[in-house]
Amino acid sequence: MSQPWARAAAAGADRERIAATPHSFGVDVWLRFAKKPTALAGLIAVLLLLACALIGPSLSPYSYDKQTLSLAGVPPVFTAVVAPEAGRYFYITPNQKIIEVDDQGRLLRQLPMAQDLFMEKRVSYRCGPQDEGLVYLDYSAAKPALLDEAGNPLAATRVLWNRTYLLGTDHLGRDILTRLMYGAQISLMVAFIAAAVNMVIGTLYGGIAGYLGGRVDAIMMRVVDIISTIPLTLYVILIKVCLAGGLVGIIVALSSVYWVDMARVVRGQVLSLKQQEFVLAARTIGSGTRRILLTHLIPNAMGSILVTATMLIPSAIFMEAFMSFIGIGIAPPMASLGTMCNDATEALRSSPYQLFLPALIICLIMFAFNFVGDGLRDSLDPQLKR
């Protein structure tokens, strides 16, 4: 094969040789998927997120609901005041407590209060190792300042990384990193279960409507039309109100309304598939409706079903976060990314990191699943490409 257009030998083994290596369907899909950098990046992000969410909480030294009120509200990076003695630092929290920090950025303890000198707008704290010596917290100005025992301001500051809690603590002193991993676990679990249930309901509904056709189809699709004119958000909220329960309620609420799109997609697929010869063949040898639907039609429509299901996951996560954010989500002490965002809105001005960290994770999850869904759509079923 030195010359590109040389004639192949007319006889022999080469004659019907296929030059390219043959691929199975799965390999083919994977190759097409891996060609898209966004899809691949999305897949890696999804796997990393899943690993963090599933394994992370058990590796963490903290638990998601353990409150350490004395160390509440410390951000991941903070500016601490340099103490008169070497190697010691003081951090003033948003609610004006003083936390002693070492030079590595480890949080040691909250300084015990000695006296509240409210006439001078100062609070004194014991700062020595044996509770000797005092520092004053002066809150007369807008920005609180620390004064040493003689009343001179401690002006020197240093930016430190929080070594005790890598991503800081929330308003109740819970470790944010652990809560993020735990919250992602709950959010992802809700989304996966809801997507799976919607997939099953939508596939069966759409499959039955499409295969039976005629009047059954007309009625079933009219029902779908009616459901889709009402905003689903309202119904998820109503169902959630009815069911009261936390986690189960939210899963049932999300599972019971989002199958409409899935039903439409599956019906469309089944409508075109049922005209094909293999269905006729199956009917000829006497297969029943159920068998044709479950073993012939639905497996053939699996590509678009999977794509639609993947796209359901980000919308379920979004919906869960939305409901938690308006205050009807998962009940404490459990936490999801949405409830973490909701908890943090009150302290947005003083501790924005408490909101932006979970919000960032929600965005990451949404991006990752959207990219994977797009990639799957293009590689599983090139005809679906819009």
Partner: protein, 305 residues
């Protein structure tokens, strides 16, 4: 045409009836009933309360009463706030929500359509990349994240706009941006892909071959056709804006209907939840109906069957 409109109106009424029935059923299967509080009420008080709100009537009668109330635009009393009716909540909230929704809709249309057109005309160039990158961000980032982010940066750190309240017009800037973010991105993407598709059609080539200027080709021939898919999704877009306002009104402390609805949900004020759901559904169904009529007007190919 008239038959089509009549048929659609009938469908609308059926849908509305079903929505009411569904909402009514859901609100009556709630375990415990509306008067379950932390403190147990004495049976006689409970009985009197049930009598007052006609909850001791058989369910079908209650439903018919509710329906006849609906026909008179009477959504009933609130169970939680004595002396308040659901109508009061809607009347006090609708001006705010309506204004916010309308402003956002106008803003969404004015921003997304030019964005989509620009991206399609500059297909593959940096303008397209930039706009579509922004649009991808817009459809993936939840509105409450956009809202709180904007609030923190523009109101708290920079002090450009008031942090809450809509007494001044500047108060509307952030809510409109946050509420419209998703729709702008979605519509811009749709506009771009639909215009790109239209630009490849034969009649565009014909129009160019006739010697029309490029502006005229785009404005007269391409845009009119490319706008059709955008008009189709206007109904759902309005729905999205309406339900999206639940969180936006909460974040920016706007005393609109969304805020009342969320409040009634967390307070478990069943009649208010029911009344507002029916109101929202009726409003949305009529919006979708109007959009459909408009759709028939701009696309003469559509048959009214």
């Amino acid at each position: 045409m008239r038959a089509y409109i009549l048929k659609r109106l009938l469908m609308m009424l059926v849908t509305l009836l079903l929505v009411t029935l569904l909402t009514f059923t859901l609100m009556h299967v709630v375990p415990g009933g509306p008067f379950t509080r932390d403190k147990q009420l004495p049976p006689s008080v409970l009985e009197a309360l049930e009598k007052k709100y006609h909850l001791d009537d058989p369910l079908p009668k209650q439903f018919l009463d509710y329906l006849s109330g609906l026909l008179r635009f009477d959504l009933g009393p609130s169970f939680k706030y004595t002396g308040k009716t659901v109508n009061d909540f809607i009347e006090s909230g609708f001006p705010y929500s309506g204004k916010l929704g309308l402003l956002t809709l106008v803003f969404v249309l004015l921003a997304s359509i030019p964005m989509g057109i620009l991206a399609a005309l500059k297909n593959g160039r940096w303008q397209d990349m930039l706009l579509m990158g922004l649009a991808t961000l817009g459809v993936t980032i939840p509105s409450f994240v956009i809202a709180t982010g904007l609030l923190y940066v523009a109101a708290f750190r920079l002090g450009w706009v008031p942090t809450f309240g809509v007494e001044k017009w500047q108060g509307y800037i952030l809510p409109v941006l946050a509420l419209g973010g998703y729709s702008i991105s979605f519509l811009a993407r749709l506009m771009r892909s639909s215009l790109l598709e239209v630009m490849g059609q034969d009649y565009i080539r014909t129009a160019r071959a006739k010697g029309l200027t490029e502006t005229r080709v785009i404005v007269r021939h391409a845009l009119r056709n490319a706008l059709i898919p955008v008009v189709t999704v206007l109904g759902p877009t309005v729905a999205g804006l309406l339900t999206g306002s639940f969180v936006i009104e909460k974040i920016f402390a706007i005393p609109g209907m969304g805020a009342h609805f969320v409040n009634s949900v967390t307070q478990r004020d069943y009649t208010t939840i029911m009344g507002m759901t029916v109101f929202y559904a009726a409003f949305l169904i009529s919006m979708v109906f109007l959009v459909d009529l408009f759709y028939c007007l701009i696309d003469p190919r559509i048959q009214y069957k």
